[in-house]
């Protein structure tokens, strides 16, 4: 996928003016936050589990080469094949070679951010192989020719009326007078349309939430069951996974599972957690005859041991964007590449280059919400600051400077949004200002405060403000 991050400001402005998007984001804002909160409150050990999860990944990253070797040995021993890929292009080529060898004309796909990252669909299509997304959200955006706007809710930016329109446009063999006014009927229609595709596909491609070194196992975590049909019915199963998905043992995976679904959707466990080890075994009545794993680096190894090292703990739960006021305001597409929200603002410059995306970390109010909910305790705001420093070191870039001020002005002209953003920011700002009570650098106004100081706002605790806001929101929705 083309990197459009440099157009953030323009995209953000359009996003704010987009009524459909704002309506969809309004629902998203309330949904994810409340569900996560409830699930977390129901598990007293949640905070301790976060530390445990973090420790597991820290240990793994410090021994990543060794665990990858161990993992590879086990995959091979269970009859699977491992393909190492340094770049997106290498990964695409590896997938294509397997598809060609299988004589594939269509491939079904489970939801996977990594295949978005390597822009696999466009590539396969160009090579004459039809990819079919089977996750409901992914299917919808594939019909629209769009990209996911959220890492776990790809179609989060859409309303059901838009989905209905797309289904009517594409599913022309179905009666025109059918009722598609309810989400249930849309879901039912997608299910019927996609069912035969699983059987027709020659290859099924999934991502992986985790890879287990101990056993050579890949894990997918889903709610729909499409990933399982995708990997069970075709003759060939390809897992595309980046190298930091490794965890040492089954128990380690279990620890991470306890924080993953709660942080993502507020479920204790997702519906289907599937652990796959190798291809069909002698006597098995079903399952793929070939099992391939593409192990992709694509820039991760260059993050290891740098100030962005900790980002490699990310388990792609989406909690950081679910709690981000900037994400809520502009949606995922404004970020211009695969990964949106705070995790995207840190990851995107690492993966596509600071020249193309180094300004994304400016799209932050530094409110700290993302770090406080991140199950892996990733210091996202700190890393966004690292990027800003790097940007700065590269020399004052007038475009960026304007961008920073532009974004601030853009929020400032929209009082409701600005309040939302700054209500979450004030104590952090006050902290930055230090004892002098003046700012050197104000998030969102970098271009401005570089030349003058702003008086610091009075401090109120973040939690106070948050609670007030929640109360107001509840009052509003109760009214």
């Amino acid at each position: 996928m083309e990197v459009e991050s440099p157009k953030f400001k323009e995209k953000a402005r359009r996003a704010i003016a987009d009524e459909q998007l704002q309506r969809a984001m309004g629902k998203a804002r309330i949904g994810f936050v409340g569900k996560r909160k409830k699930a977390v409150e129901a598990l007293p050990e949640f905070e301790e589990l976060r530390s445990s999860a973090r420790a597991i990944k820290d240990h793994t990253l410090a021994h990543l080469d060794l665990y990858l070797e161990a993992y590879e040995r086990k995959v091979i021993a269970s009859g699977g094949q491992v393909h190492w890929a340094e770049t997106a292009e290498d990964a695409r080529r590896a997938v294509l070679a397997i598809c060609r060898a299988a004589g594939a004309r269509t491939v079904t796909k489970g939801k996977s951010m990594i295949t978005e990252e390597i822009a696999l669909n466009d590539f396969l299509e160009e090579e004459g192989i039809q990819p079919v997304e089977t996750d409901l959200g992914e299917y919808i955006i594939q019909l629209r020719g769009e990209h996911p706007s959220h890492i776990i809710g790809p179609a989060l930016h859409l309303n059901k009326e838009q989905v209905e329109e797309d289904f009517r446009r594409v599913h022309t063999a179905l009666p025109a007078g059918r009722d598609l006014s309810q989400p249930e009927s849309l879901l039912g229609e997608a299910r019927e349309i996609l069912r035969p595709q699983y059987f027709a596909a020659d290859v099924g491609i999934t991502g992986a939430n985790f890879l287990i070194a101990e056993t050579g196992t890949s894990i997918i975590v889903t709610n729909e069951g499409n990933g399982d049909l995708t990997q069970t019915l075709p003759r060939v199963h390809i897992v595309v996974a980046s190298i930091e998905k490794i965890v040492p043992t089954l128990e380690d995976a279990s620890q991470l599972l306890r924080v993953l679904a709660r942080s993502a959707t507020g479920q204790d466990m997702s519906v289907y957690t599937t652990l796959s080890t190798g291809p069909r075994r002698p006597g098995d009545p079903d399952g793929p005859e070939e099992y391939h794993v593409i192990l992709l680096d694509n820039g991760r190894s260059s993050m290891l041991g740098t100030e962005f090292h900790e980002m490699l703990r990310c388990i792609r739960c989406g909690a950081c964007m679910n709690h981000c006021p900037v994400y809520h305001a502009v949606g995922g597409h404004a970020y211009g590449w695969v990964y949106p929200g705070p995790m995207g603002a840190v990851l995107t410059p690492s993966l596509v280059g600071v020249d193309k995306a180094g300004h994304l970390p400016n799209a932050s109010t530094f409110c700290g919400r993302c770090e406080s909910v991140c199950p892996m305790q990733i210091p996202l705001p700190r890393m966004m600051r690292h990027w800003r420093e790097r940007e700065f070191e590269r020399g004052l870039n007038p475009a960026t400077q304007r961008f920073g001020l532009g974004l601030w002005a853009f929020f400032a002209r929209r009082p409701r949004l600005y309040r939302l953003a700054t209500a979450l920011t004030i104590p952090v700002l006050a902290g930055l200002a230090g004892s002098r009570g003046r700012f050197r650098s104000l998030p969102l106004a970098g271009g401005w405060t570089r030349h003058r100081d702003l008086p610091a706002p009075e401090t109120r605790t973040f939690m106070q403000q948050w609670r007030d806001r929640e109360t107001r929101k509840q009052e509003r929705s109760a009214a």
């Binding site: 269970s78 409901l136 989400p183 879901l187 089954l250 599972l257 519906v271 796959s276 069909r280 290891l304």
Partner: protein, 223 residues
């Protein structure tokens, strides 16, 4: 240089160095004796309390749960389920020995098809390896006698689980699996299933029956 060597080389450069022997030992140690980690208190209850927790958690994710006194009662319970849902009297199952031992023939007019599932199958019946009370999850293993398609293709999935196989936590199930298959070995698939299929992809409304079964019915066999 191969991609493999290039990647591993970079990783070693970033985190490796002189302490390689120490790092190797740390990895061997963890793989050899996996730490259990932090197990939440929720599932750490015994006997009837654990069963009740399992049922409660499964129902919370919209599975239906039924308890029967012995394995002999399962075919009757299946027939009853089909009737209550107005389903045709036909089920698909693998060749699982625990299911095969049951007296299905006594269910007049119930068709029992064996082997992998097909598109037209409406109801699948599986036997679980274990249950997890903490989350209301059932664990299913693939193998000669347990096709995976039965778990995902039919609209209704009935899973039989023995009460004595319901553990408090997933870690206990993992230990049991290790004993059964050997250290570092896994069945081709371990399916952990927690409720029926669903999707929240349209306006975050959770809807049941996305691509997998629309309904999940658990039959817990006491004794």
């Amino acid at each position: 240089m191969s991609a493999r060597e290039a990647i591993l080389g970079k990783l070693r450069g970033a985190v490796g160095g002189a302490g390689d022997q120490t790092r190797r030992e740390a990895v061997e140690k963890r793989l050899g004796k996996p730490p259990r980690g932090l197990i939440p208190a929720r599932g750490q209850v015994e006997g009837e309390e654990r069963l009740a927790l399992f049922c409660r958690m499964a129902e919370a994710v919209v599975a239906t749960v039924e308890r029967v006194g012995s394995a002999d009662d399962v075919p009757g319970a299946v027939t009853h389920y089909l009737r209550s849902k107005n389903l045709a009297p036909s089920v698909r199952m693998g060749d699982d020995r625990r299911l095969k031992r049951m007296d299905w023939a006594a269910q007049k007019s119930l068709e029992v098809k064996h082997g992998r599932a097909h598109r037209e199958d409406e109801v699948g019946v599986s036997h679980a390896f274990a249950g997890v009370a903490e989350t209301g999850t059932v664990a299913l293993l693939s193998g000669k006698e347990n096709p995976t398609t039965v778990n995902f293709l039919p609209d209704h999935h009935i899973i039989v689980v023995n009460a004595k196989d319901i553990a408090g936590d997933l870690e206990t199930v993992i230990s049991r699996m290790r004993r059964k298959f050997g250290k570092g070995e896994m069945p081709r698939l371990l399916n952990l299933i927690t409720g029926p299929s669903r999707s929240g992809d349209i306006e975050q409304t959770m809807l049941l029956g996305a691509h997998g079964p629309r309904a999940l019915h658990l039959i817990v066999v006491d004794g």
